[in-house]
């Protein structure tokens, strides 16, 4: 039996991430971790690479984790977790462990798209039974908002600042979910905390499948996005409703949208509240917004054209 996702029922569950963690006020990643742990109903061991979540949840002598949790370095969360999972299989085989245990990685985009990609790819290829969650805030936030392979086109970061001759990051985001899907793993999905039922349902589905699973979850960071401390959910909702962050899953290779916005909003609505995109609203940079919009429309139409239209729209 999987846990009911009714909030009234969930509110009775023990929260496995304790308060007192040092995430910034209003941090999207904390909300993501909370939702994921609420949706899981099996004993679980977690791993995080070096990053915001890691340094804020486990500072000697205090931990916010109520489940077994390990951090070893930045570029190797998947390999570290793979080692734990392999030891689990070894000890189970030898009769030293009897319980069923699941394994979840919570990694940022830097540790996933960039420095951790090789380790992630290897672990997915070897088929370790783990759910790898990327909380994607689109830059190296822990070190002060440097651009990453996940930073959106045009965004101003501390290493791709909007200047007088270069208007922010001039490269597009890496398509990490499709890279993961190309590993032919059984389950790949994209989710957003604004659509919590969709997110938690995906977690439960992933947990029911053995083998490697990957879910990319948008994780607003108002410090790096230069927005407000209260808008993590509002911005992630706009990301979904502008189709900047479509909600979909790839179940054994078949792509399925899990949510279609009632009204597809212009990308500008997502960009405007964020200081990292402020420069794009100057006349000389408007081509960047246009190009981004064209790209988003093309991707969205391609997804619908490929028959990925939402099957059951989940009311949030």
């Amino acid at each position: 039996m999987t846990t009911s996702l009714k909030l009234k029922d969930l509110s009775k569950k023990e929260m496995l991430l304790a308060p007192g963690h040092r995430m910034c006020q209003g941090c999207g990643a904390a909300i993501v971790v909370k939702m994921v742990l609420l949706a899981i109903d099996k004993p679980v061991v977690a791993c995080s690479p070096t990053g915001c979540l890691e340094v804020t949840t486990c500072i000697s002598d205090y931990t916010a984790w109520k489940i077994p949790w390990i951090h070893s370095a930045f570029e190797n969360a998947a390999a570290t977790m793979a080692g734990v999972e392999t030891m689990y299989r070894a000890l189970k085989k030898r009769g030293k462990i009897s319980q069923d245990i699941s394994f979840v990685v919570f990694a940022g985009d830097g540790g996933t798209y960039d420095i951790g990609l090789q380790s992630l790819s290897g672990a997915m290829e070897r088929g370790h039974d783990m759910l790898y969650i990327c909380y994607d805030n689109g830059a190296y936030m822990n070190t002060g908002t440097q651009r990453s392979g996940a930073t959106p086109f045009g965004a101003s970061t501390t290493t791709s600042p909007a200047g007088s001759s270069v208007p922010g990051k001039m490269q597009h985001r890496k398509d990490i979910t499709r890279i993961m899907a190309a590993h032919n793993i059984p389950y790949v999905a994209q989710a957003s905390p604004s659509h919590h039922l969709d997110l938690m349902r995906k977690i439960q589905k992933a947990m029911s499948i053995s083998g490697p699973k990957f879910i990319n979850i948008l994780s607003p960071c108002h410090r790096g996005w230069r927005s407000k401390s209260d808008d993590a959910i509002a911005l992630s909702r706009l990301a979904v409703n502008t189709c900047y962050w479509p909600l979909f899953e790839m179940d054994n290779g078949k792509t399925q949208l899990t949510h279609t916005p009632k009204e597809k909003l212009p990308l500008k609505d997502f960009l405007r509240p964020q200081g990292r995109f402020a420069h794009l609203f100057r006349p000389e940079n408007e081509w960047i917004i246009e190009q981004s919009q064209t790209q988003i429309d093309a991707d969205w139409n391609a997804m619908i054209g490929a028959g990925a239209g939402a099957s059951g729209v989940i009311e949030e």
Partner: protein, 98 residues
């Protein structure tokens, strides 16, 4: 918070008290505080779900208030609250510090 003195016998990178971060009261970070008006609350529990700091207190499916030991005053609960008939049940206000 005073941390333990490391020596040969406890030199292990392991914390054995799960969730003991609860000893760290992040409420001191707050400048704004959420205020609940139960009359407008429909107990949708979205504020409870979205709070990054586990600071919305729910009992028997009903919002009781906020855990001011940890609430960082981000305002997500207030922004996301639909309330009743367009009247929000949570509003943020400047905190009076003694």
């Amino acid at each position: 918070m005073k941390t333990k003195l490391i020596n040969q016998s406890n030199c292990r990178p392991v914390i054995t008290e799960p969730g003991n971060s609860a000893l760290l009261k992040t409420g001191t970070w707050r400048t704004l505080e959420p205020v609940l008006n139960k009359e407008h609350c429909i107990n949708c529990l979205l504020c409870w779900l979205y709070c990054p700091d586990m600071s919305v207190i729910v009992r028997d499916g009903k919002v009781e208030g906020f855990d001011m030991d940890y609430c960082k005053g981000c305002g997500i609960c207030a922004l996301e609250c639909h309330g009743k008939k367009g009247e929000k049940a949570i509003l943020m206000r400047k905190e009076e510090k003694e």
